[in-house]
Structure formats: C-alpha cells, structure tokens
Amino acid sequence: MRLLYFAWLKTELGTSAEEIEPPAEVRDVRGLIAWLKGRDTKFAKAFSDESAIRVAVNQDYARPGDPVDAGDEVAFFPPVTGG
C-alpha cells in the first residue's frame, strides 16, 4: 500500500510518501489510521484531530468506513485551499 502526505501533514511527518504493509486486520480507512497512530508517536500527534484530516483512496475522497486494500494509494491531507 502506498501512502501520500500533503501540506502541513507532509511537513510534520517529514515525508511525502511511503510504502507500507499493514496487517490483515486493517480493512478500512478507520483501521488504517488507528494502526498508523499506534505505529509512530509523530503520526499519533499529527492525527490527533482526525476532523482536520481528509483522506483519498485511489484519488477519490474516502470516509472512515471505506475499504483499503494492499494495492491502494491512500493520501492524507488537510482541507484544500486552492482556487
């Protein structure tokens, strides 16, 4: 699974992309975030207010209950500010 981070999440986590292999029990966005928070305190801090984070799975906006699979591209970013 490929993870991408943008804007202040990227700055705070010190990385823009990583390849991970989460355990089989990580089946949805909610589970993935919980697993990532448990893995790394830096990640736990950045994700402490989950309402401030948007998630996209394979370049479409996703909700906590949406499924994630091994081959997916999952992106985390703050609310967008373009235009």
Binding site: L4, V80, T81, G82, G83
Partner: protein, 155 residues
C-alpha cells in the same frame, strides 16, 4: 477541458479559442483568481501552491462533467496553476460558454465554488514572518454547499 500547469496562461487567448467558430454561444462567463496581497494582512511575499498530481486532474474532470450535466454549456474550461506565485499572479481560470448568460454565470460559480472545496491544492504563504499553510475557509464550504441544497430541493 481542464488543465493543471505550472506556467501562466493568457485569459484573452484562452477565451477567444474557447468560443471561436461556435455561433451558438451568446454569453461567456469567466472567473480569474489572482494572488492577493492585502497590506493589512502583513505583506505577502509569495505563495506556493502544492497539489496532488493525478487526483487534481481527476477531481477537475469530474467537477467539469457535473457542471456540463447540470447546465446547457457549449464550452467550458478550467485552468489551475501550481508552484510558486507572487502577488498579482494568476492562479485559476474558469470559463463557461452558453446560449444564455444565466447558465454561463451559474456554471462558472459552481465550478469555482466546488473547485475550492474539492480540488487537492494547498497554499503555502510566505510573509515577512515566515511561511505558513493557509487554513481552509468556512465560507468556501458554505459557497459549495448552496449547490448541494439545489440538489436536495430537486429530489
């Protein structure tokens, strides 16, 4: 048509090309967003627009398709820049052409409202006090929301 690019664009050239030869167009609505620097806000030196390549194009394509499904448009164009921009620089262009002006205006506003809340761009502002990521504005969510209410009313 949608375009995501680092380079500047020429609004006059873009809108002339958009309607050239299409005599069914009666009205063309255009929005150009510029990098604003209000002295009261502390002197913006520059702004860097980060984006999510791939998802940006996917979102803009989907927003444009939605506009064309909802309004009788002859032509439409969205151009959004990324990279480093200075005050006065152009950021975004939305142009919509229709037989009638009301459709052109509504679709143009819909596109910029939705783009502001859906297209994955983030602004990093550089001021004399350092760089900071711009926070999303609640007003932008409300502006996009009014188009959703139209949906509900129609259901």
């Amino acid at each position: 048509m949608i375009r995501v690019q680092r380079e500047d664009f020429d609004p006059g050239q873009e809108i002339a090309a958009l309607t050239a030869g299409n005599h069914a167009v009666g009205g063309l609505a255009v929005f150009v967003g510029l990098v604003r620097d209000l002295a009261s806000e502390g002197g913006l030196k520059a702004m860097t627009l980060e984006h999510y390549p791939g998802m940006t194009e996917k979102m803009l394509t989907s927003i444009e398709a939605e506009a064309r499904a909802r309004w009788p448009l002859e032509e439409s164009l969205v151009i959004h820049r990324y990279g480093r921009l200075e005050p006065g620089d152009r950021i975004v262009l939305v142009a919509t052409a229709s037989a009638h002006r009301q459709a052109a205006f509504e679709a143009c506003q819909f596109l910029i409202d939705w783009l502001k809340t859906k297209a994955p761009f983030w602004k990093l502002e550089e001021t004399s006090e350092g760089a900071h990521w711009v926070e999303a504005r609640a007003g932008d969510d409300e502006a996009a929301q009014r188009w959703r209410e139209t949906d509900k009313a129609a259901e």
